[in-house]
Amino acid sequence: MNADNPVVLEMRGIVKRFPGVVALDNVGFDVRRGEVHALLGENGAGKSTLMKILAGVYEADAGEIIFKGRRVSYHTPKQAQVAGITTIHQELNQIPLLTVTENIYLGSEITRGPLVHWRAMHKGARALLERLHLDVDPRVLVGSLGVGQQQMVEVAKALHHRSDIIIMDEPTAALSLREIDDLFAIIRDLRAAGVAIVYISHHLNEAFEIADRLTILRDGRHIATRAAADLTMDELIRLMVGRRLDEQFPKETAPRGRELLRVEGLTQGDRLRNISFSVHAGEVLGIAGLVGAGRTELLRAIFGADPIDAGAVYVDGGRAPIRSPRDAIRHGIVLLPEDRKQQGLIMGMAVRENVTLAVLRTLTRGPLIDRRRERALVGQYIQRIQIKVADPENLVSSLSGGNQQKIVLSKWMATAPRILLFDEPTRGIDVGAKVEIYRLINQFVANGGAVVMVSSELPEVIGMSDRIMVIHEGTVTGFVGRAEATQETLLEYATGHRKDEGHP
């Protein structure tokens, strides 16, 4: 890359607030033509929010965007794409039941009179795929392609729109090593053709390998922008984290008690294959793995949210037949889902109603709910879990992510559970609230509970677990103790490059 390339995009003084959180505080950032610019930072640092503002998903509360020399503001992703800014998301947003051609040309079909000009579109699609060295028939359904190929189709779509900037949000999360190499080759081609790439990733090695410059965000603030050549890995980590690991993860080890939960031979189609493990009182078992490895599916299967094909769950040494979340709750197992808003909370209901949802049974007098007792219970949890809410009658939708997570936690704590299945405990939560969630986990295991924690954040898994189980494509590849766990070891297991034999 040539450092003299003209700046194609500049964002200045961007501010974005969400209820209870300042997601972006006066953040600036620029991208040059033919540059790969990595955007780095921890979860909640504001990377995705910044890119969503650029792509017209969110609106900034303050600040300006200058694209190709003009001030712009997009209100929909479509407007941004037409203008030349394409985002390739972590979750691919293509329509699996349409063909490659149809997906590429979606919304910009070539027509001849009132009819769609299929021949021209297939030809165009084929040309785009060839440019990407992708050997795929444009007439096949996108749903039949692998994740890596689907991603390439998105890149083809971006090329079709002659994008000046392609934003890639965690593009390698679901790719194999081979596919990652292919992707990088294409990124280099695009760069040579003058396209600017904004590359968001958690994988620092990748960022170093592919990026020309790196911008680091932390807690919604711009920390630094450096040329990749001028930065060392140590320095980068220091910039990203800004504090020592033990401050970030206030892990306290609790005495290990008897076995509380044992899972044997759990199998569910191709997603989960013969998974066995156990967790003891006072223990946090971390589960690591790549996106799509079956982490969330495993928790849901244990909780009875999805049916299983084989396997058994034992609680306290006894067989626990769990066919529904209700059964699980009765056995003292609860699930804090990854997607709180869609699966953990009822956004249109008050804090009070959400907190007591799972224990209404115990709050009735005759057929009626005893409001006095209900309010007392809610007040007690607001204090104990330290939920910041002015009035328990407020809707949960008005709270910040951290407080919403605490509401889900309160709902379950009221059922006096012994086993927490915790899926992405701190996703979308700001740094201060994260530490509070960690302390609540500490407290729970100190009181004799057991936690099974899934997280995409390897530092979080390493920082908070007593033991880590790694899964790859639905099978357990290894167990790693807290002392031996490093990001590199976990990644080797998670990518299937290392596998211990003979697990229970």
Partner: protein
């Protein structure tokens, strides 16, 4: 800076939402009071005790049907079978009371009316529950299930009556149920028994929806079914009961219509599905579920009745009735959208401006 992305989180949309919220809380009631005031001033006929009694009488049956519909819509479902259930329950009760399915003179050779009514109501609840089983157990779309059941029930009513009304004679129980109670000097205020029944049903529904576990679950399912299930609520059981309640209350409405007309016929429920859904929506319950309440529906029912009756008194040609009702229904749904403050193109324009 005015052309940057820096417009604050559109105050326009927020004020639109708060106006919407105000409207949804008190709006329907204000509209109803306004309409009553206008009609009271303009029409002398409307001021007569008979006309006011009629208003209550006409509102009762549809009101009970709409109460059932409220439960269903609160869970995010819909019950299109209610009008057919009104007819079906009336026909069943009439046949049992008359002791024959042949249309004819005033006969009453069958079983006592309270027994016949009990059977008709049980049938309503059971058929409703069956719909609930199909919707939850087989994961079928409520729109299709209840639309299909509507056809089946109308068809059965038509076949067993041969398309004619089955006439009955009132016994003591039916006379009691259909009486008009006179209160005050000279019985100036006349309250139909059926209106009292309707109000009791509304009160019970309010207690059930707002003060019982079942009611809380109803709102929770409408608010977010996935979260509700993952919180340990037996969503399917609650929904089956919801459809049973809707079937039961539609059958109650059907029996009342039949007693008033002293005839059970397959046309008895005509239009009641549309009216009940309209009443629920006008009353401020969101079609997406989880928000709203039973008292709003009662207000919605009265708004519809006042419009219908008002048009008679104001000499609007009766043929135009359908048009006015249609407009009101569409307006009510527009209000539902406005309430959520969620009109994409409008939001976009505000931002672009």
């Amino acid at each position: 800076m005015e052309r940057t992305a820096a417009t604050s989180p559109s105050t326009g949309a927020r004020s639109m939402r708060s106006i919407g919220r105000f409207l949804s809380n008190t709006g329907p009631l204000l509209v109803l009071l306004f309409m009553l005031a206008v009609l009271w001033t303009l029409s002398e006929a409307f001021r007569s005790p008979t006309s006011l009694m009629l208003l209550g009488l006409e509102a009762a049956a549809i009101g009970i049907v709409a109460a059932g519909q409220t439960y269903v819509i609160l869970t995010g479902g819909i019950d299109l079978s209610v009008e057919a259930m009104v007819s079906f329950a009336g026909v069943i009760a009439a046949i049992l009371i008359a002791g024959t399915n042949v249309a004819g003179g005033q006969i009453a050779n069958g079983i006592p009316s309270y027994l016949a009514i009990l059977i008709a109501l049980s049938a309503g609840a059971l058929i409703g529950a069956f719909q609930g089983v199909l919707i939850t157990g087989l994961n079928m779309n409520p729109l299709i299930v209840t639309l299909g059941m509507r056809s089946i029930l109308l068809g059965v009513s038509l076949v067993i009556t041969n398309g004619a009304g089955i006439n009955i004679q009132k016994d003591e129980f039916l006379s009691f149920m259909t009486q008009v109670i006179r209160i005050g000097e000279d019985g100036a205020i006349r309250v139909p028994m059926v209106l009292i029944i309707a109000v009791i049903i509304y009160f019970i529904s309010w207690v059930v929806l707002r003060h019982t576990r079942f009611g809380r679950y109803t709102y929770a399912i409408g608010g977010n079914e996935t979260s509700a299930r993952l919180s340990g609520i037996s969503v399917n059981l609650v929904k089956i009961r919801i459809y049973a309640i809707s079937g039961l209350l539609a059958a109650v409405g059907g029996v009342l219509v039949m007693s008033r007309l002293v005839s059970g016929a397959y046309q008895n429920g005509t239009n009641m599905t549309l009216m009940s859904v309209a009443a629920v929506v006008i009353g401020g319950t969101a079609l997406t579920g989880g928000k709203g309440g039973i008292w709003g529906t009662l207000v919605g029912v009265f708004i519809i009745r006042v419009v219908e009756q008002g048009m008679v008194y104001l000499s609007v040609p009766s043929n135009a009735k359908e048009i006015v009702l249609g407009v009101i229904i569409v307006l009510a749904v527009a209000l539902d959208v406005l309430r959520r403050g969620d009109i994409p193109w409008l939001r976009m324009r505000r931002r672009a401006a």
